[in-house]
Symmetry: C2
Subunit: 92 residues, 2 copies
């Protein structure tokens, strides 16, 4: 394997697990106010399409990495939705 | 081009521009408290490695997409750093 491919693998690993400390923080603080709902929905849609693409092309690295990101972003979206619903209850 | 490649392109476009509404929101609210610093640093490092990989492999789609993400995440990190510094000033 080329040396440059190791760089690509390191980039993949960083991208995949970058949301892990975010999920830990968001889950602890129960606050996702600063997150853009549009961004979270685009990330969920984007990773869903990558999962379909990866399964179709039988490319494990693509569907597995995006599967992990999908679950991590999903956890942040869950907190964001709870924030939005509780804000609505308070003001309404 | 295969139909599945269009799906891959759509996934790429969504991933690349997903941080755009986030930057608009963060820039307007000037608040990035809910973001994990580790996540932002990992995203910056990951996209940097992808840019090197893409330039080395002469793969426009890789370095351009990651270049855009690098700039967008950089803008969020900038606000986060300002938040951290101002908090330190208030408490110290």
């Amino acid at each position: 394997m080329d040396g440059i491919e190791y760089l690509g693998l390191a980039a993949s690993a960083l991208a995949t697990f970058s949301f892990l400390p975010q999920v830990v923080r968001t889950w602890r603080t129960r606050s996702a106010q600063d997150f853009s709902l549009a961004t979270l929905l685009m990330l969920m849609t984007g990773t869903s399409l990558w999962i379909i693409y990866g399964v179709w092309r039988d490319a494990l690295a693509i569907w597995l990495g995006n599967g992990v990101t999908f679950l991590l972003v999903g956890a942040i979206l869950w907190v964001k939705m709870r924030n939005l619903l509780s804000t609505r209850n308070v003001t309404g």
